[in-house]
Symmetry: C2
Amino acid sequence: MKVVALAGGVGAGKFLRGLVRAAPDADLIAVVNTGDDMDVHGLRVCPDLDSVTYWLGDAFDRERGWGRRDETFRATEELRTFDPDAAWFGLGDLDLATHLFRTRSLSGGMSLSDVTARIARRFGIDATIVPMTEDRVETRLDVVAEGREMDLHFQEYWIRRGARDDVKGIRSEGAERASPAPGVLDAIGAADVVVICPSNPVVSIGPILSVPGVRAAVAERPVVGVSPIVGGRPLAGMADRLMPVVGLEVSAVGAARAYDGLLDAWVIDEEDAGLRARVRDEVGAQVAVTDTVMRDDEVAEHVARTALAALT
Amino acid sequence: MKVVALAGGVGAGKFLRGLVRAAPDADLIAVVNTGDDMDVHGLRVCPDLDSVTYWLGDAFDRERGWGRRDETFRATEELRTFDPDAAWFGLGDLDLATHLFRTRSLSGGMSLSDVTARIARRFGIDATIVPMTEDRVETRLDVVAEGREMDLHFQEYWIRRGARDDVKGIRSEGAERASPAPGVLDAIGAADVVVICPSNPVVSIGPILSVPGVRAAVAERPVVGVSPIVGGRPLAGMADRLMPVVGLEVSAVGAARAYDGLLDAWVIDEEDAGLRARVRDEVGAQVAVTDTVMRDDEVAEHVARTALAALT
């Protein structure tokens, strides 16, 4: 079975661990959002690629909820003695190795796809992890902060400013000129199933679908998604703040509507069982209901099994 | 008293600690070699500026002989798991903070002089540390390695390849188009004394003097230098391999000849007392003889006192 998963960060990482357990013989390709990528102190940082890699490589820190396990922050703590404001994007010492390796490889002419594959190999990952594009696409937010309009990189909005600003608009800058990374369209075209991971529909999956050709290719395949919204709240992140900006209700129904015209099936949480009929009627997708709060790999595996079964 | 010191890395750092003790009320400006600077994994690394800063800031690791005290190497060790060859330039976790801060500041438009001053302030340093230039000047070596000609950055020759290659030529690339950093010529012009630290004359002090205007400005002032060569060997580094390439004898006399036309006085080690007459005759400088092996700050202070006294 060939499976393509569209993936953001933490929710995707958790789910993909379950997917690998649920379908160990599947040929899995994770197409990962790069709209959050940024240059930090000269280093190329790709938060979603790294989250997925660290999760699949069993190197993720589940307690902290980001970054690597057994991590230390000596460089970042020291950096704060230079300038308390200089280190708002916390880079762990082990995590720095990933960014140093990636930056050096990119500047040596290696493609982001190849670097990503090299990093995945370092973590012993069997699945294929690919960036959505090798071109620069940047999720930017128009916000009103302290009474004035600002244009922020997603990470500035989310990490630096704690998602406290009033968001007026969300753009996938550069997406219209971007090409899918090599192999992405072929992989989707050959997929028996495309899975949309329980990631932020606006700033994680949205950018992937905004790369020219991707949405159309996905629309041709059987597609199942898992709702990242449970009981009207995101399990992680700030989707509740961003979904209304693009006219989406903060619910398992609203998240499904983000994928209008794509979904054949949609997995929602038991807490949202009452929304089953609305998803069916408003989105036209089959609905599966299960416990989607992936507190461990066993639950994640069950969610993945439910998603794959929902299509058949 | 206004003192300008021309400085390379470790030998200069040791000596400058002594100079600060010997002349605590002096207005000290260290003009530091930047020919060894390089981009490492996207980060701007300035080995000599950092050595001088860590020495003057009492953060240098005297045991290891480079980098910061109480250092760890988690990022670098992790990087080696990606590619054993990727981390030939070992960056400590604390040291990384310096490079991250510098890179971020430079890319934000701050000048190298201002970044250097900010870093010195972080380490509580009273002396002024300035780069020789803010322009890119790179010490490059033409070598024959494994039977073929190669053009290596100084750090590749020294750190990566362990100075094992046969050197045919040494260039200060970009020097002819470089300008001294702001204030350098004024500082030299106003100096009561210019001190040439016991650094490699070819690849540490040579690049500073190769920046247009610097040699001429130094020639106008009283100049004293300390020999980095003791008993025909450098106290550290690879000057013994590079001095012959530019026609210099590997001795306290040869090192003095590197500064032909500049030196008013030259400090040599007791072991080289027999060279006193040759220095006087061949270089035309006064000669002071003392123990120059700076095993601690007390010896360094004595060397500095001897140097300052040699001019009067």
